[in-house]
Amino acid sequence: MKRYFGSKRGRSVTTLIVVAAGLSLVVAACGGSGNKESNAGSVVDNPKCGNGNGQKPTGSPIKIGAIATKQPGTDFTDGENAAKAYFDCVNANGGVNGHPIQYIAETEQTDPAQNAALARKLIETEGVVGMAGGFSLIECDVNHSYYESKGVPVLNAGIAPSCWASPNSIPVNMGPRYSSDGAVQAVIRQDVDKIAFDQSNVPGTGYIAAGPKIVADAAGVPISESTDNVPIQDANSVAVRLTQQAGPNGGVILNFTPPEALKILQAAQQQGLEDKVKAWGCSTPCNTDFLAQALGAKWDGKLLVNAELNVTDFDGPDSELYRSVIAKYGQNVTGGLGSFSQMGYLMGEFMTNALETVKGDYTLQSVSEAVFNLKNQETDILCRPWYTGKAPLHIPNNVDWTTTPDSGHMVQKEDCFEISEDEPDIAKVRQIEAADPSLTGGAG
């Protein structure tokens, strides 16, 4: 048996494989460096934010703070990074009334004590005068009482239920529950007779699932709800189960992160299941070109995605400014153009708009008052003007698009539509808007 060990042939084969493995590593490393999402749509070289005068601000800094989740598997810091990109753009264009914005972005690891400490550190130690750009799994639940006690309005993008149930939390997004509602509404418009709703098995699924059930029940459409552990390890089986649950005239709705939703949709495609139901729907996370590119043409026009924010290549002035700001100042926005950075950009923009209205010193009280007075914030990234106001709860983003894949991009499938008022809190918000139409640009 010695011939195996000492032969030249044996050594050369081993050497060849080792060299090939090394080459593979090099190739992979080189190829992986270009994975940033390509910028689609027009951009300008020198975006104008705030005053737009190109001057360096000389006043004392205005401190703004934020808290975002950053832990293995969940990185929401693109919200903060995009807000910072907008503030950097403002600072490069004269700042706010001559003052630069100093952004203090904290990260948390879903530790309630850490979240509580960070909020107090920002407001009481750092002395921030406003909060904008936060994007956390639990921060709303942990800190909303503290912010209420301090009278501080927080411009955030939320996940936790408290984000849409506190007088001091004012999100730019509508969150997974209302976005799933929107997907259910879009699928019901396809005249389905049954819905199978599936989502990842994580804390809070009961709160989210209650929304689609309310909407489906109101429409008289039976709905079955299920959860799957993530990462999904048997996507083929999940796809089969969902199409069986929905039936040939039914619809399947997914509320997953893009990679997990992709697994189910791809498995459905491989098994020829995409036409076994009448419609497929998905909540906002699916509204990304990455998903459209990965899915391929078979899903073009077939997958209905609820979109809380506009497609990133939309031809509009604010969308162009967003793309330009990310291109010039968003080096740290690792996800590139997408929902997360759109939310961060909007939070930065709205906070800047509030700061510009402050007369006199920038204090926690003066900035809070300015933020609470924001109304009719027009942007083509949202379906209609955004607002804050003093109210027991805030869901200013409650009108959505439906998008669908088209040749590797997400495009608008349905124009703006209202999330169902069968949702009790949406109904409350509509009453608030009806009482003061100026919030959304109507005659006040």
Partner: protein
């Protein structure tokens, strides 16, 4: 309870996954029997090879088959490299230490994948998945057929290889007694290197198949090794044939539990539950004694 007709597609998906689990399980068993190493990096190596193939195809615009070839070469190379560099140093350490060392490799690869490729949605559709045929009302892709078929071929082919070839005999000799086999003139390190190489190739092939059957993301592919590990444990890390059938059972039970609403949520536990039941059954006639030098197993 779903009808028989509704269960049928899950048999296909279960058999396909079971086939890949068998493929992976065979790689783990052969390596363990030859080197005494339980390779917990098996899934991570497969995951990285699948991502390399995806990257070559989508970013470097390579043709598909050469990309798959490089991916498998990578898996073979990195596994062999680990075995050649660290295998001898760890040869006389406890099995737990050896397994933990491979966990280190898995974590390094996971970190590398996270660094190179973000967690964006990606898909890898093998050319064999673009064609399907129907068995009754169930659509079956060629990837599913290949997954099952490859599991059969590799398991039984490896069993025959171990039985009828010189290298196979040497591997079996090492499995029985490393010292005695070495004194008989068997080039231990060379034989072990072959085992690492085969294991690496199987991890690369498994990674590619699972990236199509399950999805292309580093974490889920890395931890799919648990299902293969369960099959290998049921076979007591000895029998390839038992590993094969255990893998099929793991795949089928997981799949067939999916449409049953009351237990669907718990189907991911299937590998653990089956392995636990099997190990309890196997050890039902053993007694644990605390005599002599310490803990030992005595036949009852």
């Amino acid at each position: 309870m779903p009808s028989w007709q509704e269960f049928q597609p899950f048999i296909v998906t279960g058999l396909a996954l079971g086939g890949v689990y068998a493929l992976s399980g065979a790689g783990m068993v052969v390596l363990y029997r030859t080197t005494g190493v339980l390779n917990l990096a098996f899934g991570a190596v497969g995951a990285m090879s699948a991502l390399i193939a995806w990257d070559l195809i989508n970013n470097s615009l390579w043709p598909e088959w050469p990309s798959y070839g490089v991916a498998v070469l990578f898996a073979a190379g990195v596994t062999l490299l680990y075995g050649v560099l660290l295998g001898p140093a760890l040869a006389k350490r406890d099995a737990l230490v050896k397994a933990t060392a491979t966990l280190g490799l898995a974590l390094i690869l996971l970190g590398t994948m996270s660094w190179i490729w973000s967690d964006k949605a990606r898909s890898q559709v093998l050319p064999t998945s673009t064609h399907a045929f129907d068995i009754g009302t169930v659509a079956v892709t060629w990837t599913q057929v290949i997954s099952f078929g490859l599991g059969v071929v590799v398991v039984f082919g490896t069993a025959a290889f171990l039985k009828y070839t010189n290298l196979g005999t040497a591997m079996r000799g090492l499995a029985n007694d490393r010292e005695i086999t070495a004194t008989l003139g068997v080039p231990v390190r060379w034989v072990e290197a072959q085992a690492w190489l085969v294991s690496g190739i199987l991890s690369g092939v498994s990674g590619l198949l699972l990236s199509d059957l399950v999805g292309l993301d580093a974490v889920s592919l890395t931890f799919l090794v648990i299902s293969s590990l369960a099959a290998a444990l049921i076979a007591q890390l000895r029998s390839l044939v038992v590993t094969f059938f255990a893998a099929l059972v793991v795949g089928l039970v997981s799949a067939l539990a999916t449409p049953i609403t009351s237990i669907s949520e718990y189907r991911n536990m299937a590998p653990f539950v089956l392995a636990t039941i099997a190990l309890l059954w196997i050890s039902r006639k053993r007694e644990i004694s605390f005599t002599g030098t310490g803990l030992g197993n005595g036949r009852g």
